[in-house]
Symmetry: none
Subunit: 210 residues, 4 copies
Amino acid sequence: MLKKLTEDQQAAIIEKATCEFAEKGYKGAGLNRIAKSAGVSVGVIYKYYKDKEELFQACVGKSIAYLDEVLSNAGQEGSDLPEMIRSLIGQTQIACREHPEYFRMYHQITMEDDSEQARSMAAIIEEPSAKAYKAVLKKAREAGEIDEGLDTGAGALFFDNLMMMLHYSYSCTYYSERMNIYCGKRFAASEKKMNDQMVRFILNGLGYQE
Amino acid sequence: MLKKLTEDQQAAIIEKATCEFAEKGYKGAGLNRIAKSAGVSVGVIYKYYKDKEELFQACVGKSIAYLDEVLSNAGQEGSDLPEMIRSLIGQTQIACREHPEYFRMYHQITMEDDSEQARSMAAIIEEPSAKAYKAVLKKAREAGEIDEGLDTGAGALFFDNLMMMLHYSYSCTYYSERMNIYCGKRFAASEKKMNDQMVRFILNGLGYQE
Amino acid sequence: MLKKLTEDQQAAIIEKATCEFAEKGYKGAGLNRIAKSAGVSVGVIYKYYKDKEELFQACVGKSIAYLDEVLSNAGQEGSDLPEMIRSLIGQTQIACREHPEYFRMYHQITMEDDSEQARSMAAIIEEPSAKAYKAVLKKAREAGEIDEGLDTGAGALFFDNLMMMLHYSYSCTYYSERMNIYCGKRFAASEKKMNDQMVRFILNGLGYQE
Amino acid sequence: MLKKLTEDQQAAIIEKATCEFAEKGYKGAGLNRIAKSAGVSVGVIYKYYKDKEELFQACVGKSIAYLDEVLSNAGQEGSDLPEMIRSLIGQTQIACREHPEYFRMYHQITMEDDSEQARSMAAIIEEPSAKAYKAVLKKAREAGEIDEGLDTGAGALFFDNLMMMLHYSYSCTYYSERMNIYCGKRFAASEKKMNDQMVRFILNGLGYQE
DNA sequence: AATGAATGAGGCTTCATTCAT
DNA sequence: TATGAATGAAGCCTCATTCAT
């Protein structure tokens, strides 16, 4: 009764909390339920996190870290643009299958009602990939591989928009159903087809040549 | 103040409720707060709506109706694909400026934790535009205007994905900040530039010729 | 819209209110429901009765008047004690069948939480029959017909206790079921048998001779 | 004040709740009021009882258990019928003095508006004493001690009717005042006289000889 | 340092009562 | 004068947070 929480227990808190937040939303999540499912007491959660909000932020952090990892793994796999995009999408598909809760979590973040905080979260979360994508596009443009009329910032945004919707489509019920409605259940269920089509659309969109 | 709620007051309930739901989410929204901000008593809300859920649905309905109207107006303006897309985007930009809460509302809907309900809402909300977009693309493909290798369902999905993210970018703090990060504040603030870029990306994406 | 409530409507208010109070209890009764079932507006009830309590009292008054009538009819039918008792019981059985709500109402009265009021209601309601019963017993005792060791007040009380429980047994679910449990459904359903047995027990109890 | 409710506190909840229910009825009772008068928070009541209904049932249970105990104590004291009755009445008088709320509670139960529940409560509460009383009377009849023309079920019912009214007379304002009206304040206040008279009336009623 | 029972503010909802028409 | 929509206090219940052990 006087031992520190093991690392496993600490991890369990984050994991179970993430699932709870992802499933029920911030307001809907219950700390007592989280504590019970993580196998610890409610009280101890407050030793590690000041309040519900801070626990939520910790979960967000974990999710973001996971996404970053996925993306950075994927980013390095291919050297040319098509390969890189294909890989990003593929890794995303896998990650969504394995940890839909992280992606649902992401969706939650974007709804936080405190706008100042939303802004700062956006900065933390989006800046790295924005920078990376823009760099890639800039290089590609300099190499004459993509549409010169396309602003690299905007291009990166559109690309990431599509990626983000891909996350949602693979992790949130609503978006998943929406994908079915648009593409048909069969088609939507084929990760490969989806990947192919999306790569095609994006490369087209960027005006990729060669 | 004891005779039937004026239409203004009834509208105020929906409007304030929509804002509250949009900002705080379903769970986070408070009926007492809504009543106060709409300038009516709590009790009267229950004369018009059976419970919180029904009020929420009414708000959703109103939002959806508004979006439909915006889209159908836009859809008819241009006759060729580029014009149509430009118009859709333009109307969306205007609509987002005037009623960001409707779009934030939309964002909330997509997170409802009851997955069965999420599915049915998706059906109601997405089917019409899915059908419309797919029809347009099909026609365009038959006219040989767009990439034959692109599935029309997938194409329509990617297109709507971009539209949806546009909604969010113009109505939710997080996505708005994200747009700034990607494109720079200056660029992002110019609706025209954004529209141009997005049209370009989409037409490229669809492989539009002519 | 400017007419006084007809007598029928006024009566309907009392009647429907009595049923509502009898069925749902004082707290459980709803004025809006009463108004609707009586075919009048809520507002007008407040023109006739200051508040819920006063309406309740009016219903009580009506019920009491009904019971008094039943009892006084019965009291005059037989001239000797056995006949009188048999008649009282018989009339009660009939009355309970026709207007269980009046008797349930009675049950409600006895629970009013304001003890001062309970006391004054008891005075109003019980004094007449107490007086009548005691007079009858006194006469019977003077005639040497009943147990001299029995106080006439106590005797009258026990007699009325049994009568009161008879009311309840024929009008309230709980007491009705209780009667079934004690006597068996068949027996309890026979008003005649019940009457016979009860007359016998009471006459025995009073030590009636001749 | 933040560690487990002491037994005293737990008992206080039931006690205060019983008083509240007894006084105001199920609907009229207020959990916040109960919590305050028991010196605990509202929340904690819900740790011990699922909801208002369950708390009510617990109070009912406690009351019934108390009555059972009183009755079974009394039942064993005397071996012959008169002694047994005298004892039952005497114990009841004592119990009513000490815990009028239990008996008032009983009164409330009998009015529950859900008739199915009323029926099942009647079964639970009444069956044991019905059985016991009927057994006693049957034995007495076989011993030729009581009126052969009296059905044992009906006899037991009348007996228990009188007992029940005794409960009410000693615990509810209305019935207490009624007793005063019938017997006079002086007489009614003498438990011994009341007991004597009641025993006499009952034995007479049963036609008890020997 | 961890526990988990207790706290109590606050949320949804009902309904007796009021009052503009 | 009757109407019935509007009012808002109050009821039941939940859950983030606290703190005695």
